[in-house]
Structure formats: structure tokens, C-alpha cells
């Protein structure tokens, strides 16, 4: 019997997933000057929809998670070389004053021309992912392979001590860069909503019609999503990502995930910190395992002798 057992129910995973979706936002912006032109972005996104499922084959599936862009601005600026006309003076004999032409310059700014189209309403992504959790031991005394395949992919720095590390091992991934069902559905819903709002400013009749429009838009989304659903179902069945993008994505993700643990526990693990010159108290961690089945996820470990 394991010395320590922790279990998390599937229902808790689903509630935590919803909590994460409601609270997760990502935003970033940057602007780089490359001399003749400037490039930048200003993005903000959140998550919608999707579901999480713990499965009997020791995998976790995240299905049809929508990435929604609140702002997806691409900033392109051009710095045209400055052109100036005029500015010279004609010297006139005294007492006639010099005649100076006004200097007029164009393209003095940097950038001179800038556009920042917002693609937020036109772009939507959807991701489905299946992966298993695996615990592995990192022994600091074992030298890394040469060449190290993780060298360029390692985001989490190498630890300086032994660790138990938990990895997500991707099985399949389905990434729709342009989630057409949602894009079309959103556009139709927005257009119809605007039209109805213009015709009927308020009241329960308008609310009823808007509810019906929402249902129609969802139906359109569902119908347009059928081919993708079939592809995801086949991927899940054969445990292989279909589509070149998904296949490459899974390979990259596989490599990336195998180089970066999602959670690490030091071995030995410190339970009492160093104090007043006394060494810290550390306990050895043995046989750490993590597994999932359709009801819960279980982490177990032993304390070394």
C-alpha cells in the first residue's frame, strides 16, 4: 500500500476546468522597429466551450476548446524616407529683404503610415487534445544525451538535483486554425442580432427572437462542425492525428512535452528548512506514480527508508 495517496475526482476536474476557462485570459502587445517598417501586435484572448474527460485508458481528453480573440490586432507601419521641398533663400541687395521659400517636408514621422486591422471577429480557433500523464525520474548524475534533443525545446530549466517529474504525453491533437463553423456562426448571429435590435429596440418579443437566432446559429455551427467532429473521432479511434497540420502539431507537441515537465518534486523533498546552522530535513521520495481512469486521477508515492 502506498504511503501517500492523493485522488481528484473527474467531477472536480470538470469544475476546475470551468473555473480555469472563466478566469483565464491572455493578453500581450509588442512593437518592433525594423528601420523602414515597424511590426507589432496587440492581442487578448480567452477560452470558451470545450470539455475535459478522464478516460479509462489513462488519458485525459480536452475536447473542442475554443480560443476566442477579444483583440487580434496586427500593426504594420512604414517609415518612408523624408522628402522636403523649399527652404532655400534668395539673397537680395540691401535694403530688400531676402526671399526665403518655406520648407515643406513629408514623411517626417516614424512610422509615416500605420495600419492596425483587428482580426478578432474574423478568426477563431478550436483545439482538441488527448494526452496521458506519466511520472519519470530525473537523475542528475546521468549525463544528458549528446546531442541533447531537448536543448532548444526546454522551457523549464534543468534541475540541479534529482527530481520526480510529471509529463503530459500527447496522443492526438486537433487544431483548427480557422474554426469556420464558429466564424460563420458568429457572423450570422451578429448580423441577425443587429438587424433585429434595429427593428425592435427592446422588450420580450425581441428577447424571444434573439434566443431563437442564437439557437439557429448554434445549429449552423453544429452542422458545419460535423466533418471536424468525424476527423476528431477517427483520430481518437486510431490514436493518430489526421491532417498534416495536426500530425506535425502532435509531433512538435510530443517533443516539447517530453522535454518540459508540468510538475516536479525534489528528491529528497525538504520538509523542514535549514535553521540556525542546522541542515534541512529531507525525505527520499520513491515510486511516484500518476494514473487516470474514467472516475478520477490518482497520485501515489512512498517515503524512502
Amino acid at each position: 500500500m502506498a504511503h501517500l495517496t492523493l485522488a481528484v475526482s473527474e467531477a472536480t476536474f470538470k469544475r476546475s476546468f470551468d473555473l480555469l476557462k472563466r478566469n483565464f485570459t491572455f493578453q500581450d502587445s509588442d512593437l518592433q522597429d525594423y528601420g523602414a517598417f515597424t511590426l507589432g501586435y496587440d492581442v487578448k484572448m480567452h477560452l470558451e466551450g470545450g470539455s475535459v474527460d478522464l478516460r479509462a485508458d489513462n488519458t485525459v481528453q480536452i475536447k473542442e476548446l475554443d480560443i476566442r480573440w477579444d483583440r487580434l490586432k496586427v500593426i504594420i507601419g512604414l517609415d518612408v524616407p523624408e522628402i522636403c521641398v523649399g527652404g532655400g533663400c534668395i539673397n537680395m541687395p540691401w535694403p530688400v529683404p531676402d526671399i526665403c521659400l518655406p520648407k515643406i517636408c513629408v514623411f517626417s514621422g516614424d512610422p509615416d503610415v500605420s495600419i492596425s486591422p483587428d482580426f478578432a471577429s474574423l478568426v477563431a480557433q478550436e483545439i482538441s487534445f488527448t494526452g496521458s500523464l506519466a511520472a519519470r525520474y530525473f537523475d542528475v548524475t546521468i549525463p544528458l544525451p549528446s546531442p541533447d534533443p531537448c536543448q532548444l525545446l526546454r522551457v523549464v530549466p534543468l534541475p540541479g538535483n534529482n527530481q520526480w517529474q510529471i509529463f503530459v504525453d500527447p496522443q492526438t491533437m486537433d487544431l483548427d486554425l480557422f474554426d469556420f463553423p464558429d466564424i460563420v456562426g458568429n457572423l450570422i448571429e451578429d448580423a441577425l442580432t443587429s438587424a433585429v435590435t434595429a427593428l425592435i429596440p427592446g422588450g420580450w418579443v425581441r428577447d424571444l427572437i434573439l434566443a431563437i437566432i442564437g439557437g439557429i446559429a448554434d445549429l449552423i455551427r453544429a452542422i458545419l462542425d460535423i466533418p471536424d467532429d468525424i476527423e476528431e473521432w477517427l483520430s481518437d479511434l486510431f490514436n493518430v492525428s489526421f491532417g498534416l497540420l495536426d500530425f506535425i502539431g502532435t509531433l512538435v507537441l510530443d517533443f516539447f512535452a517530453s522535454c518540459n515537465p508540468i510538475y516536479s518534486i525534489d528528491d529528497p523533498f525538504e520538509i523542514l528548512p535549514a535553521a540556525s546552522g542546522l541542515i534541512p530535513v529531507r525525505i527520499p521520495i520513491r515510486n511516484l506514480s500518476v494514473r487516470a481512469h474514467d472516475l478520477e486521477m490518482v497520485i501515489q508515492t512512498d517515503v524512502g527508508a
Binding site: 500500500m1 502506498a2 504511503h3 501517500l4 495517496t5 492523493l6 485522488a7 481528484v8 475526482s9 467531477a11 472536480t12 469544475r15 476546475s16 473555473l19 480555469l20 472563466r22 478566469n23 483565464f24 520538509i271 523542514l272 546552522g277 542546522l278 541542515i279 530535513v281 529531507r282 525525505i283 481512469h293 472516475l295 478520477e296 490518482v298 512512498d302 517515503v303 524512502g304 527508508a305
Partner: protein
């Protein structure tokens, strides 16, 4: 049957895991369990029980025991101290229902949902050999006579404080005795301030084979006070720390949850018959995730 059939989260710790952790602490922080006078810094072999320390402790030059002042000899005109040591050598727990710890008859068999605690402590005193008395008595007599114009024999005449460093005669061996303490305890949930904690409560305690009975009772009385007021309150564990501090984890990931997230014990007996449960040689906690808008 899944671990989380009756709660959102489940945590269990086996008695062997706890006992191993205790052994690691005893070996890596021996000074928490051993107390002795400075004489034993050079003579650790004379302690009642040899201290088993981890190699890292000696390599780091950490003390094997916490240094104590010698035991003063009451009424001695010339300050004299005796070397002594107090060592806690064994500490183990046993969750119901195995019987790795045999309780004394006074405590009966371990009831369901209880845990047994076993602790062994040894005390050693460095008695003065007869030869030292021959040297010390003339000195003590001279000091006593020179102290005042009238002789005194009462304890009321003990100096209020020791003016000089006491004479601490070295010892060749300690006279040691060991006592074994058994206790029966249980766990319960309770609040400390605003937060919910898992607390340890004492049900009964027994020091075995000590005579006269009154002395045993006094020592048990004192041990109970130390456990109830000193040690057990320090073992309270906040419920979030037992499983995972979700709020802290979210904060580490840069997420500020709009809702209040907390953990609460699964209700008894609606969800589980016992919570926390002490059974199958384990301490089990059934916890629910509470998300409030």
C-alpha cells in the same frame, strides 16, 4: 470502487510513511530529541543511548544534542552541577486496525478510528563517585563557614543565584533509566481563527511500570499537559495544505480567480461515515471543493 466516490478530493497517508518521516527527522535533527550537558560533547559515547545521526549531520558539524546547563545540587554552598542527559529514542504511531504497537492493559485495545502513539525516553544522571566527595566536601565546608556568622541548615539559605560557574565533576558512566509512554489519540476537524484545520486530540495516556503509583500519576499528568498544550497544537494541519493549496497554485500561474475557492471536509455522516477516518492503517481525509461566486 474509486477513492473519490464520496468526495471531490481524497488524501490518505499510511502509518509506515509517517513513521519513516519521523525516523528521518530523528536522524537529521537529533538535537530535537536529545538533550545533554556540555560534558557529552567530548564524551558522546557515555550517553544512555547512542545517537544514530545521518552522515550529513556530522559532516555539517550539526550538534547531536541540545546543550543543557548541568543539574544544580540544591543547597550546595559551593555551586556544583551534575551531568545528565534526556533522550527520546523511539517514536512511532499505529493507525487502527493493525497492532504494531501493543498498548498496555490500562489503555485496553485500540478502539476504531483511533491511533496509538508510542514514545520511549531515557534519562541519565552522572552520579558523583565517592572520590569526588572527598575533594568537594572540605571545599563546601570552607565556603559554608565563611559565608556568615551564624550556621544555617535550611533550604531558605540557598544562594538566590549562582555567583560562580559550578563545579561539574566528570563522570565515567551515567546511571540511566528508560520510560515508555503510550497514548491513544484521534483526529478531528476544527477551526483556528477563520481557517479549518485537522487537529490531533488526546484520549488517554499511560507510562508503564513506574512505582509508586503517585509518581506515575504525576509524570502522566505532566506528560499530558506537554502533549495537550505543547506538542499536539503544533501538529494541526490547515486543510488547504493537506491536499493542495488551490488559490496559491492559481496565483503562481498568474490567474486571479473571481470566485472564492476553498476546501471543506465532506459532511459526516451524509457523505462519509468518518472524516477524517483512521482505518486500514491509514489516516484518510475526504475533502470537497467549494467554489463560491
Amino acid at each position: 470502487m474509486a477513492f473519490t466516490d464520496r468526495s471531490d478530493l481524497y488524501a490518505a497517508v499510511h502509518e509506515e510513511g509517517i513513521n519513516r518521516v519521523v525516523r528521518h527527522i530523528m536522524q537529521q535533527r537529533p538535537s530535537l530529541f536529545n538533550y545533554a550537558t556540555p560534558f557529552f560533547l567530548q564524551n558522546p559515547g557515555l550517553l544512555c543511548v547512542r545517537i544514530k545521526a545521518a552522515p550529513e549531520v556530522t559532516a555539517a558539524g550539526n550538534p547531536l544534542f541540545t546543550v543543557q546547563t548541568p543539574l544544580p545540587v540544591l543547597a550546595a554552598a559551593q555551586p556544583v552541577g551534575l551531568n545528565y542527559c534526556l533522550q527520546f529514542t523511539d517514536l512511532a504511531i499505529d493507525f487502527h486496525d493493525s497492532d504494531t504497537i501493543k498498548l498496555p492493559p490500562e489503555l485496553g485495545t485500540l478502539p476504531a478510528q483511533r491511533l496509538a502513539l508510542y514514545m520511549k525516553g531515557c534519562f541519565g544522571l552522572g552520579c558523583l563517585p565517592e572520590g569526588y566527595y572527598a575533594d568537594l566536601i572540605p571545599l563546601a565546608e570552607a565556603v559554608a563557614v565563611s559565608r556568615g556568622d551564624k550556621p544555617s541548615f535550611g533550604l531558605a539559605d540557598i544562594p538566590a543565584r549562582q555567583e560562580r560557574d559550578p563545579i561539574v565533576p566528570p563522570v565515567r558512566e551515567l546511571t540511566c533509566f528508560c520510560l515508555e509512554l503510550y497514548a491513544v489519540l484521534h483526529f478531528e476537524w476544527g477551526f483556528i481563527g477563520q481557517d479549518e484545520y485537522l487537529k490531533v486530540r488526546l484520549d488517554g495516556l499511560e507510562i508503564v511500570d513506574l512505582k509508586p503509583v503517585e509518581m506515575e500519576n504525576i509524570l502522566e499528568c505532566y506528560a499530558e499537559a506537554v502533549l495537550r498544550l505543547g506538542i499536539l497544537p503544533r501538529l494541526s494541519i490547515r486543510i488547504e495544505k493537506m491536499v493542495l493549496d488551490i488559490t496559491r497554485l492559481l496565483r503562481q500561474q498568474g490567474l486571479q480567480a473571481g470566485q472564492q475557492i476553498s476546501l471543506a471536509p465532506a459532511p459526516v455522516p451524509a457523505a462519509v461515515p468518518h472524516n477524517p477516518a483512521v482505518e486500514d492503517d491509514q489516516l484518510k481525509a475526504f475533502v470537497n471543493l467549494v467554489i463560491q461566486p
